[in-house]
């Protein structure tokens, strides 16, 4: 068996884009997500269209026994990996005090715990005969505290910090870690509505998932630490870094509150 690229969250909008991009480059894949039907359909389609091997196995990354079972499955099949793309992540947007305690637990379990365990586990199964590439999907939200996305932006900041540090640790073994920090992406009808509600700013910061996936992989192959798609987003990040975080949080809070009000109006 050829070494595989593992993609978590493979049946989501961004996950599919990465899966398609990797398959189009002739790479064999291992896909995981919660839904078996979606995975099986995608795997069959990619295999047929691009002539690559695509293995899939469902896993609930918020659940440790499910994660253990996933690794057992991989070990039983003697799988070896040449890359890992951690996409699985979620957000429950809105005021923190309005969340349920299950939602609060899930954000850290998936965005942080799930990511760490996958990275740890797949590194153990890496193909030592070639460079190993990790892509962690963080977010532009990693750079500043975001009211109404407080847990999400904090979890992405965790990922970004961790990835940059891990990149240094893994240098001697020829492995690289690239953090993708996009703005909003039009992945679902809900996301598209969210982008529309942000008006002009939403439109100019949004990049298509195909563009993001292709460019991220190119950056990962070069071993870059961070990739921010889109020149506008790069500028935003730069300007944001000149302003104290507390001030940024305040400005972002105003903007997001406006966007939420607009979305409520659109939904009525």
């Amino acid at each position: 068996m050829e070494s595989l690229i593992c993609i978590t969250g493979a049946s989501g909008g961004l996950g599919k884009a990465f899966a398609v991009e990797c398959a189009s480059r002739g790479w064999d894949l291992f896909l995981t997500d919660i839904s078996k039907d979606l995975l099986s359909n995608l795997a069959g389609s990619l295999s047929s269209t691009y002539g690559v091997d695509v293995i899939y196995h469902t896993c609930d990354l918020t659940d440790c026994s499910s994660r253990r079972e996933l690794f057992r499955y991989m070990e039983d099949k003697s799988m070896k990996f040449k890359g890992l793309i951690n996409i699985a992540g979620l957000d429950y947007e809105g005021a923190f005090v309005e969340r349920t305690d299950e939602q609060i637990r899930k954000v850290t379990r998936l965005n942080i715990e799930g990511n760490l365990e996958m990275t740890y586990g797949i590194l153990k199964l890496r193909d030592r005969g070639q460079p190993f590439r990790i892509i962690n999907v963080a977010s532009l939200a990693a750079f500043y505290p975001m009211p109404l996305k407080a847990m999400y932006s904090a979890s992405k900041r965790f990922l970004l910090n961790f990835s940059i540090a891990l990149r240094e640790e893994l240098r001697p073994i020829g492995a690289t870690v690239t953090s993708l920090c996009p703005a909003g992406m039009p992945t679902t009808a809900e996301c598209i509505r969210a982008i529309d509600s942000q008006g002009f700013m939403g439109r100019i910061t949004t990049k298509n998932v195909g563009f993001v996936a292709a460019n991220t992989i190119d950056h990962a192959l070069k071993g870059d630490a961070v990739y921010i798609p889109g020149i506008i987003n790069k500028i935003i990040k730069f300007v944001g870094s000149l302003v104290p975080p507390i001030a940024v949080a305040h400005i972002v809070g105003i903007r997001w509150n406006m966007a939420h009000k607009k979305r409520k109006v659109l939904d009525l």
Binding site: G13, K16, A17, A19, V20, E21, A23, S24, L38, N41, L42, G44, S45, L46, S48, T49, G51, P186, I192, I195, D196, R203, T206, N208, V209, G210, F211, A213, A214, N215
Partner: protein, 306 residues
């Protein structure tokens, strides 16, 4: 041309028939006595369309089936469903297949199969559906496959390096390409069937039509542009007349003219007439649909050029 004489009693399958050009065509053909099998994504829209047609016709023969054409699995299920319905009838056949379903999406969206949405709905679904229904089309004395294309296929080429336009998606280019693919498909289908076949394929250019296509998968600027542009479009019933002509005019059964607008032949783009491009696209599409084309009884697999 007397539509009524030529259309009455014919079985016609129409995709995208809950609104726009597809609905107008279904209504027109039902009024003239055709048996209509309509297809739409939404249960409520299908019911509304069916009710509307029933209340407008003296003796309506219409049934709607729900299918989301962005999923190849659903396209296959739809075909199986239609084959079962018509297979149970004594002389079950399809006289006309009208691929009228079309979409326009502002953003690059992947379908469940990992294909770009416009490519999947506007082109790949007709490709697979036509294949799966070909055995029934062959049973008709004068079978027709009509695919709604567009004048936007001119001045376009297929981007072979990135056929889904993943990396540099441009919604208009994606639309133009999908409509070009429809013409290439129509040309190649006719080449493979042969000019004297009982099944003939045509591409219909409806011109600019006032429909909701620009509002359904779009945001912001695209919506605003369509809102203005569509005002100078014709009513869908005009396009329906043209498609009705292509469905039943006997004299064109072996016509060399493949591309039609307003009931008159029109020269399609030079690129769309290229046999090498059409063949290349066909082979790619077969690979994409391979899982669903395994049935030896399905249409394309028993053509001589295979």
């Amino acid at each position: 041309m007397n539509i009524k004489e030529n259309i009455s009693g014919k079985t016609i399958v129409i995709t995208g028939s809950t609104s726009g050009i597809g609905f107008a065509t279904a209504l027109l053909l039902a009024k003239h006595g055709a048996n209509i099998i309509g297809i739409g994504r939404s249960d409520s829209k299908c019911r509304r369309a069916e009710d509307s047609i029933r209340s407008s016709c003296k003796d309506p023969h219409v049934a709607y089936i729900i299918a989301d054409l962005s999923s190849l699995k659903q396209v296959k299920e739809l075909a199986k469903n239609i084959r079962q319905r018509l297979g149970n009838e004594k002389n079950g056949k399809i006289d006309v297949l009208i691929n009228a379903a079309g979409t326009f999406t502002s953003w690059y969206v992947n379908t469940v199969d990992g294909f770009e949405m416009q490519f999947a709905v506007n082109y790949l679904a007709p490709f697979l559906l036509t294949n799966e229904l070909m055995p029934l089309l062959k049973r008709a004395p004068a079978g027709r496959v009509i695919t709604v294309s567009s004048g936007s296929h001119y001045r376009t080429a297929i981007n072979w390096k990135d056929i889904m336009l993943r990396k540099h998606y441009n919604c208009l280019m994606a639309y133009k390409q999908s409509k070009l693919a429809d013409v290439l498909f129509t040309m190649e289908l006719n080449r493979r069937m042969g000019q004297m076949s009982t099944v003939r394929a045509f591409a219909a250019d409806p011109g600019l039509v006032n429909t909701d296509i620009g509002f359904k998968g779009t945001s912001g600027i695209a919506r605003w542009i369509w809102k203005i542009r569509r005002r100078s479009g014709t009513n869908p019933s005009v396009a329906a007349e043209s498609i009705a002509f292509l469905s039943c005019e006997p004299s064109i059964q072996h016509s060399e003219n493949i591309y039609w607008k307003d009931c008159k032949p029109l020269k399609p783009s030079r690129y769309s007439q290229r046999a090498d491009a059409a063949q290349r696209l066909w082979e790619i599409s077969k690979r994409m649909c391979a899982r669903y084309m395994l049935d030896p009884a399905s249409g394309y697999t028993n053509m001589s050029e295979e």
